[in-house]
């Protein structure tokens, strides 16, 4: 793959993934603490709450690591 295109992809996807990951993590916290009455507004049953929160947290942290890896690689390749 052309290095220039790859570098552009790395920073674009890396930043997008990091932003998505942070949003996911914030959403997981909002969901868990039921801020803004979000559990009722989204019709989330209490028995599935922990499943959602856990899945969102795992996905969030994994995505954040992956996104930061790409941004870091981009910074190093500058």
């Amino acid at each position: 793959m052309n290095m220039r295109i790859r570098r552009i992809l790395m920073v674009t996807v890396g930043v997008a993934q990091s932003v998505t990951a942070l949003s996911t993590l914030i959403f997981a916290c909002v969901l868990y603490f039921d801020l803004f009455n979000v559990q009722a507004s989204l019709n989330i049953p209490a028995q599935r709450l922990y499943f959602y929160v856990l899945t969102l947290l795992v996905f969030g942290f994994l995505s954040l690591t992956s996104g930061l890896f790409l941004v870091y690689e981009w910074l190093e390749s500058r």
Binding site: V13, Q17, T20, N43, F59, S66, F69, L70
Partner: protein, 510 residues
Amino acid sequence: MNGWNHVEKETCLLKTKRELGLFSTVMMGLSGAIGFEIFILLNYAYFHLVGYGIIWALLLAGLINILIMLSYCELGAAMPMVGGEYTYIKTAYGGFVAFISGCFRWLASEFSAALAAVSFTQQLAHFFSIIAPGTEIFILEHAPLIIIIVVLIFMMSDIKGVKQLGSVIVIIFLALFTVLIIGGLLHGTNPPGILSTPSLESLPSALAAVVYVFPMFFGMRALVARAVHVKNPGKNIPRGILLSALLIIPLYMGLAYIGVSVVSPEEAPSTLFLNLAAERVMGWMGGVLFAFAGMVASLSALGTSLSVQSSISRGMSRDKYLPKILLSVHRRFGTPYVAVVTGSVFVMLLGSIGAVEFLGYGASIGSLIVFAFVNLSLLKLRKEKPHMERPFKTPFYPFTPIAGFLMSVVLLVFPMFLGDENALNALTSGVGLTALVVMTYYLRMVGYHRLQIAVGGACFGIGILLTLLTCLAATGIISSIFPFIPNPIAILIGLISMIAGFLNITERTT
């Protein structure tokens, strides 16, 4: 022959000027020790834990501090290098233990910085409660926001490289505390029951109070972090540490004596003990002065802790335990901006919690673990490097470092047996953080590129799974697993994950 590498020594001492004499060294030790802690930590210890026994608790904490600082004297005089205790432990044990201790030292600095930020809001509220009653409610309600703003300001000033005013603040504090003690004595204080013999029943509470107030003492270890600037370090470092450690005990005990004389332990525990004492002895002016002093101390400590945490993370980054991006220096200001920003974000998060008691124990526990390692390092270096040049030798070896180690461990685990909820929470968090630290170390040892490929593979798989499940749910074959996420967004996230995973996997193979 010295026990440590001469090349390393020369590298560390390179380009540094040894310009601090004994007076400056003592002032440096005192500026590390006298801080915001005295304004905030006495409250819980006095009102909730030990009452009048606070004076005995302070004496005991001071003596234990001297015991531990003797090990710092020997190691600081023998290795006057950048890094302080992290360097001693690394010389004695190398890799893993140094990494663990470095992490805990960093965490202790983070907890201290967060505590300083919380302390600032409390003092600010107290200040305004005197000059404009009613406004303190607004301040306390918006404390997390104020903490974030204050940390942001300090983060910017750290990046710009603004210098601290350590010695000036210490002299002002010493004057202020002396005025309070003399004023209190002239006031005709007669504290009830404080000189009675401590009973066996009150011992657990007293020990919990010792753990809790311990951060008021051990700040003087900041001296060894700047040992590289001290003239004649073989003599001045031990003298500086011991003089600071000795001076601080009567000062704190004097303040506590005046405090317990005028403030009853049955009074409202939400009040600031020392501020209230100052108000009772010196009138409203005393309250204003101490609230102002508390604010200055908190801000000074916040700045110092942020600098210390960035120094530790850079040291660990230098040793390749943490990503080298933490070593990045700002092009214009020449300051370690990445390390400062990273640490500041953690401080904002911890500070926003606002749980003073939890943060107090957290700072203490992190430091006690490091103290235990420092004492063990002294024992190991004496045994393995007997010919190492030691300008100062810890008296009563090996009993002193063994006692220092045991006291650190006892203070570490004791509040757990007492069942203090805040201590338990801090200790549980400590255990969790230890697990995280150990996991980080092993992930680091796995190697950066292997980890990147593993994370990339996981993301690639999750991306495919998410896209597939969303497509199946959209066509009605299965029910949606995350009904609250719209399908287009789920597909977009899946695609991003796939591309990111692919880029991570193929990064080193292209």
